[in-house]
Symmetry: C2
Subunit: 359 residues, 2 copies
């Protein structure tokens, strides 16, 4: 499906320039471009540069402040609340994660809840900032409501992803980065483009009946929580998505549940919002706040090697460690370039023309 | 299926006396009985007094130390590692949760990883200790390997439950208490007793093929991670169970993956164990470490009320809040008594006769 292959650095520089053109200070533009492009590098095409024009439209609709004053509004030795001042989540999230890391340096762990933000790209990028400091990183965010809780026809939760990234020794980091739904919305978007049926258990129609029509969400249908239905544990996926929502928004003062601002700028804002913007939650834990880091890393290596050598089911080569597929994609794409669909390529060309930036 | 109804206090006192008889100090016996019976109160019959004789057999096999010296072996302002000295998890876990709560009082949050422990009953009981102090509580534990990761035929993880308990204002607490599998092992045990087929997506046979035979685990089969199969997100359930394993055991120095000690005393211990006992992980977060508690509680009430009033799917009365079913069970059972199957009743009678304790 890839119709263009663009060098990562070229695409990153283009994205940075576009963010500058809408008024981001250079350091913010750089932070945002790196965060956004990390999705393309890691093979999560739905959350990367394909969304750049969407972020620009949010700025045009005055839902994003390109030069926010992001600040800590409350703190204790191991916690903080950050107000994102309506900035790009791609800028606010790295700020908050840095606060979590600094808290962890002093107190062992750091936990930061964020209000008044916007979409932050992929959770994995932010969680991995802690791994670069030798810490465990946790990142989660709420998002606008596309998911129906168990027994509900109403969409009440976003796909509310969570990432836990854990450093190892000689082995690469363990990186579990997952939406709390059966399938991420990005995967459904791919089926929509191909007009292909979705697997059973991914979505329901507007009446709460199971559906395989990938366009069901436009007609009032919903994504399903991880588990799919009650018999297969959808109440667990619902509970996990709810925890992400509460940690990200009820702890910080952001909007939660059906009140979270939508990503598409043409979708009206929900009325009677109880908070500010959307919310995130970050954690950093210093390894040596628990045990000597070298001991931990040695056992993480053993953990990873043992799981990787588990006897595979017939037809499968091996058992994967969370983070393996994304790391493999990154290795390939850093060399070969980022594959872009023609529609995305054209979208970027239009942006470039409009802002006088060459891709 | 309930064949006997026993008053809660009578059953708790019996359990406490049995723990005393195997050598637990009175305060530990009380703590353990309360923790164990909380499962029966909350309707999770598989993890309650039905397991009392199992705990006694672990003590007989010298796998449980009835009078442990549980202690903190490392700490920072917001973290600690606790060594359970091979004690009952039912005693070690409340000790560790108290440490987390004290850390949170001083530093905003507290995080405690535990090694050298045993099975701790239900996660919810321990997480709710924080809610009683007005805090958010988190509890998780690893367990012996019954679950095959995605693409694996080998059992590598326990059902590794996690509980997040969040206080509200006028509404009861939000309590998400879940095994990271499609179905908890206790639910499978019920089908085994009835000799009924399991729903598709719960288990696989020894060759990694889907199965509905509830006895499959005896023949080398496995429970499946939440999601069931790759297409429905089993890699997410696998990742969540893995995070529980790593936080509980690799951070603390307990056994992980296939090396976790089994609950049945007749099952041999895995060889070449890399750590001590099994592991838990606990967290406590003070609400006012993030925002004023009354503001938070007001918004939690609004969150709960909004979700509870979501439009239900046809055939369902209403959308539930995590914790609703268990709280309802507790209300009924505190009044009406704890229902026991005849086999469990007989097991308790035998225990009582042996230790000269009257039920």
């Amino acid at each position: 499906m890839a119709e263009h292959l663009i060098d990562y650095e070229r695409l990153r520089s283009f994205t940075e320039q576009i963010f500058c053109k809408i008024g981001c200070p250079l350091t913010d533009a750089r932070t945002a471009a790196t965060a956004l492009l990390s999705a393309d590098l890691r093979g999560i095409d739905s959350h990367g540069v394909a969304r750049l024009s969407g972020y620009v439209r949010l700025w045009e609709a005055k839902r994003v402040n390109a030069s926010p004053v992001v600040k800590i509004v409350h703190e204790t030795p191991s916690t903080a609340v950050v107000d994102g001042d309506s900035g790009l989540g791609l800028v606010v999230a790295p700020f908050a994660m840095k606060v979590a890391i600094e808290k962890a340096r002093a107190a062992g762990t750091g936990w930061v809840s964020v209000s008044n933000s916007n979409h932050f790209g992929i959770a994995g990028h932010h969680a991995l900032m802690a791994v670069e400091e030798g810490m465990i990183g946790i990142a989660m965010t709420n998002a606008s409501a596309l998911v129906a809780p168990t027994f509900s026809v109403e969409r009440m939760l976003g796909t509310n992803p969570v990432c836990v990234a854990i450093p190892a020794g000689n082995e690469p980091a363990f990186v579990a980065d997952l939406a709390t739904t059966t399938a991420a919305n990005g995967k459904l978007e791919i089926l929509q483009r191909k007009n292909q049926a979705a697997p059973a258990g991914w979505i329901q129609d507007k009446d709460g009946q199971p559906s395989v029509n990938p366009h069901e969400l436009k007609g009032g249908g919903a994504l399903l929580p991880l588990g799919g239905d009650r018999e297969h544990g959808s109440h667990k996926g619902y509970a996990l998505g709810a925890v992400v929502d509460i940690f990200s928004a009820v702890l910080s003062g952001a909007n939660y549940g059906p009140w979270v601002p939508p990503f598409p700028a043409f979708v009206p804002m929900p009325s009677n919002q109880p908070g500010k913007g959307l919310g995130h939650f970050f954690g950093a834990m210093r390894i040596d706040a628990f045990r000597p880091a070298d001991e931990f890393k040695q056992h993480m290596d053993q953990w990873i090697q043992r799981f990787r050598s588990a006897r595979p089911a017939p037809g499968y080569e091996k058992v994967l460690i969370p983070g393996d597929p994304e790391r493999e994609a990154e290795t390939i794409r850093r060399k070969a370039g980022i594959p872009l669909l023609n529609a995305v390529w054209q979208d970027l060309q239009d942006l470039g023309e409009r802002f006088d930036v060459k891709l």
